[in-house]
């Protein structure tokens, strides 16, 4: 019995010895040997562990004995597992290597503005965009106050750094949008088809952009729609020119959003411009809708389908300046854009994307250019794209893609003779981007694109080299790249052999974020154009050339002025010098869409005490060139400078109701964008002229946005 007792006591003693805790300690570092804090270190299968200190050290005790797995986990680093006897885990040094699948990518900043960011900590609300006075809630107009963008011409389209509006392209979820603007009558400013509230990320690239984006010589605007919309809601919008209704239905793994709009200028014109009633046989109207559905597939996959359709109708009396006769221009347009994209991130670090987009623009215009003519145009484009990327090491990331544009344009124009033509062509291409993180402060991108244009059977190589260097709070950036864009369909239809127009860009930039609110940027550029379109009267070729050079400056800041009050401001200035030998000009000229000096000042005052955001913007631009036939030469005169002082006021009436009002050109300045001259000399041998001015000198907009859903507040977005 004593023996049994002694044995039991002995066993218990042994067990107690076994259960004695083992001390484990050591240090965690990154791959360069620098200490890592906040790393969770523990024995797998137990709760024994510790979090590393600032100096990377950790220490804890465990009762687990024998062979154990010591695990270290930290966000941004690969999970580390060490298998060893517990007793040997003293003074261990654990070296963690970065998880390249979660590495934050650094973008090259030359030529690019992230207007509305996607990072968790760097966001601009769509409200920031629409509360810029002069924007009228329009995406492109809010971009036009940024340096590098020209103060818009009479048509309101985006013109960048000496390039025409057709040199700027819009992409939704990386797929090309053929017609981003809605049509408007002559001398009336167009609007973008898409509200800024639809998008989660809006980037404005004025040049030096990735070869992923093709068919643009000057600028691209990649717009990313929301990946998810977790709140179900219904919204209503009432404007002086129409209304909208829409909303979102959210489920656990998917959501769908819908918006229907109807625009009709009749009430607005009757109220503010009653004297112009006789101009309209049928006022401008436009029903449209947008739908987007997003479905999460697997852990990281997302399928998105986006479709928008708009129909534009109006019948307006137009005065032919040459003959002094009126014609009733009858306009109908159908504009459709549909895209489906899928992207996914795999566990092995590869990310891939596939998408297809279809654009259709169909126009019927009676009395289009002269009384009695008839125009029918049908443009279609299919854009297919697939791309993949992977970071193989901290040093190197590879991305590549393949895509194709299939285009068709059918023109039928009936006047004295019938012109009935169709052009079809495709632009397939592949691109490869190599990103090198040469040091934490220096990144380099070497990339290229190979593109084929089926209309003229040509292969083109389009290289790009870009770098970013970070020195304290300063970012220095440089880029050079070559871009190509097919000639416009209106000319290809007469000469299918026209070559793609080309531009080689050189950009140097420096920017500094002096504080959370203060930022400045200086950027110089030089663009060299080749293969520009030349010729006239259906005989076109591609032997034009030109250049555009300039400098853009931007400074923005803000400060708190009192309780719930703040002021933000932005000053921007652009200088541009451009000359081109193109179209039917006999010499190198400065095109009419370019102003030599452009400046804008944006002021925003927020006072939550009175529930209001006030905006004031002044935009100035030098006069534009035009040809005065009474003088020798071409583009031999300039209009008087453009200036517009704009105001807007956003009033947060309640959590469910927002009011927005804006007024453009408060001073009523008669801005002249050029002149139309009679083709025959009048009395005294002088060509008579009439100025090209906006149809309405001043513009007013009043809107009310109501949210009917129960779970959202101060939200003008229906998506």
């Amino acid at each position: 019995m004593k023996l049994i007792g002694a044995t039991l006591i002995g066993m218990m003693f042994s067990l107690a010895t076994l259960a004695q805790s083992v001390k484990i300690n050591g240090k965690i570092t990154n791959e360069k040997g620098q200490p890592l804090a906040s790393v969770n270190v523990f024995i797998e299968g137990s709760i024994d562990g510790a979090t590393s200190e600032e100096n990377g050290s950790f220490a804890f005790e465990t009762s687990v004995s024998g062979e154990v797995k010591l695990v270290a986990t930290a966000i941004g680093y690969k999970k580390l597992i060490w298998q060893k006897p517990a007793k040997e885990l003293q003074n261990v040094i654990l070296k963690m290597s970065p998880d390249l699948t979660t590495l934050k990518e650094v973008e090259i900043t030359a030529g690019s503005f992230q207007v509305k960011g996607s990072g968790n900590l760097e966001k601009k609300n769509a409200v920031d965009l629409v509360t810029v006075a002069g924007s009228e809630g329009d995406l492109y107009k809010s971009i036009e106050v940024l340096p590098g963008a020209q103060t818009s011409g009479v048509d309101g389209k985006l013109e960048v750094r000496g390039g025409s509006s057709v040199e700027s392209q819009t992409f939704i979820d990386d797929m090309h949008v053929m017609t981003p603007y809605s049509a408007r009558p002559e001398n009336t400013s167009v609007r973008g088809n898409y509200s800024p509230f639809i998008f989660d990320q809006i980037t404005f690239s004025m040049g030096g952009f990735s070869p992923e984006y093709s068919q643009s010589l000057s600028s691209v605007q990649p717009l990313q729609t929301k990946d998810d919309s977790k709140v179900s809601k219904i919204g209503l919008g009432l404007l002086t020119v129409g209304g909208s209704i829409g909303g979102t239905q959210a489920w656990q793994k998917s959501s769908t959003s819908f918006e229907a709009n109807y625009t009709n200028v009749k009430p607005y014109m009757s109220l503010f411009h009653p004297s112009q009633k006789s101009d309209w046989n049928s006022y401008f109207s436009q029903p449209s809708f947008i739908n987007q559905t997003r479905i999460n597939i697997g852990e990281n996959g997302i399928l998105k389908a986006f479709v928008s359709y708009g129909k534009t109708l109006f019948n307006k009396n137009m005065l032919d300046f040459d003959t002094d006769k009126q014609r009733a221009l009858d306009f109908t347009e159908d504009n459709l854009f549909a895209t489906a994209t899928f992207r996914n991130r795999l566990q092995n670090g590869w990310r891939y994307f596939a998408g297809i987009a279809y654009s259709l623009n169909k126009r019927n215009i009676e009395n289009a250019s002269v009384a009695g003519d008839s125009y029918y145009g049908n443009q279609q484009e299919i854009h297919m794209k697939s791309k993949a990327e992977k970071r193989f090491s901290y040093l190197y990331k590879l991305s590549f893609g393949v895509e194709s544009y299939l285009r068709e344009y059918h023109l039928r124009y009936q006047f004295a003779d019938l012109i009935d033509r169709t052009v079809r062509y495709s632009v397939p291409g592949i691109y490869v981007c190599n990103d090198f993180n040469l040091s934490p402060n220096l990144i380099l991108n070497a990339s290229g694109r190979l593109e084929y244009t089926s209309n003229d059977h040509r292969w083109n190589i389009l290289p790009r080299l870009a770098m970013n260097y970070q020195l304290n709070d300063f970012t220095f950036s440089a880029a050079t790249a070559r871009y190509q864009q097919a000639a416009e369909n209106d000319y290809l239809i007469y000469n299918k052999d026209l070559h793609g127009e080309k531009a080689t860009q050189y950009i140097l930039s420096v920017q500094n974020s002096m504080s959370e609110y203060t930022f400045f940027r200086v950027e110089g550029y030089y663009k060299k154009y080749d293969n520009l379109l030349t010729g006239e009267k259906y005989a076109y070729s591609s032997d034009g050339f030109g250049y555009s050079r300039g400098i853009d400056l931007m400074f923005k800041s803000g400060f708190i002025t009192g309780k719930n009050q703040s002021i933000e401001y932005m000053l921007s200035y652009s200088f541009n010098d451009t000359k081109r030998k193109y179209f039917d000009y006999k010499s190198e000229i400065t095109p009419s869409f370019v102003s030599r000096n452009t400046a804008s000042g944006v002021l925003k005052y927020t006072n939550m005490g009175i529930k209001s955001i006030f905006g004031l913007t002044n935009r100035y631009a030098d006069g534009r060139t035009y040809t005065n036939p009474n003088l020798p030469g071409e583009m031999n005169a300039r209009t008087s400078p453009y200036n517009s002082l704009d105001f807007c006021w956003t009033f947060l009436a309640s959590k469910k109701v927002l009011f927005y009002s804006s007024a453009n050109n408060l001073l009523g300045r008669n801005n002249i964008f050029g002149y139309l001259y009679q083709s025959e000399q009048g009395a005294g041998g002088v060509f008579e002229r009439t100025p090209i001015v906006s149809y309405t000198r001043q513009g007013f907009l009043i809107g009310c946005f109501i949210t009917l859903g129960g779970k959202t507040a101060y939200d003008a977005s229906k998506f």
Binding site: A37, S38, N40, F42, G45, S46, I47, D48, G49, A50, T51, E53, E54, T73, A74, I75, G76, N120, L121, E122, K123, K124, N125, V127, D128, V231, E516, Y517, G558, N564, S566, M608, G609, K611, L652, K655, K711, T712, A713, Y714, D715
Partner: protein, 219 residues
């Protein structure tokens, strides 16, 4: 023999059904949870909260069937951001909080009111890192989640407390018409009624006392 089989199957079924409950009754689990909840309650620095967050993460990994440790991981990291929103590691902490907040959605038995409350808390932390940019963006998420938490369980004092505090930092017209000190009285009563158990979050009473001092002269 049949009787033995039947007996065994009943026992096994009961054992399987009770596995999760057994985990929560595991003294090691209970001790670890109590220790770390106390650590969170008494934390004075972000580093202490990060340390507690790491410990809850270890508990959550070992006791995968329990939603409470996952809840506290997200809470501790969100809280550490609120302690020092300008710290250079806030992005990492927010990512950690979000990771565990997302995991919480997979627990059907999790207290929905507490989860909604925590989501609001996470967005509040996100706002403090950059109020000028994130305020407009996430303001509605904070309000919506707190209100949802109250609707799901009107007896939960935390969303009432945090909503009232959040509204205090908003411009006057954005606040609800409820009197702050009246709300604090209700919150105080609810905290008094609350049972302290590791089965359910019970933090906040200390913070309530600090906030309610503002109303001390209103009695």
């Amino acid at each position: 023999m049949k009787t033995i089989k039947l007996y065994l199957s009943v026992v096994l079924s009961i054992l399987a059904m009770g596995a999760a409950a057994a985990q929560s009754n595991d003294p090691a689990y209970k001790n670890a949870m109590e220790k770390q909840i106390a650590a969170v309650d008494t934390a004075k620095t972000p580093a202490q909260l990060v340390s507690a967050g790491g410990a809850f993460e270890r508990i959550a990994l070992k006791y995968g069937g329990q939603w409470q440790p996952a809840y506290y991981v997200a809470f501790a990291y969100s809280q550490s951001v609120l302690f020092n929103p300008k710290d250079e590691t806030v992005e990492t902490k927010l990512a950690k909080a979000k990771e565990w907040l997302d995991k919480l959605d997979n627990f059907k038995e999790a207290d929905k009111s507490e989860v909604a409350m925590l989501k609001g808390y996470y967005f509040m932390a996100l706002i403090t890192t950059n109020p000028s940019a994130n305020g407009q963006k996430y303001f509605a998420q904070v309000m919506t989640n707190y209100k949802e938490a109250i609707a799901l369980n009107p007896e939960n004092p935390r969303p009432r407390l945090m909503l009232a505090v959040f509204e205090q930092n908003l411009p006057e017209f954005l606040r609800s018409k409820e009197d702050f000190c009246e709300t604090m009285k209700t919150v105080g009563t609810l905290f008094e009624k609350e049972q302290k158990s590791i089965d359910k979050p019970y933090w906040g009473a200390g913070y309530y006392k600090m906030v309610a001092q503002k109303c001390a002269g209103n009695k």
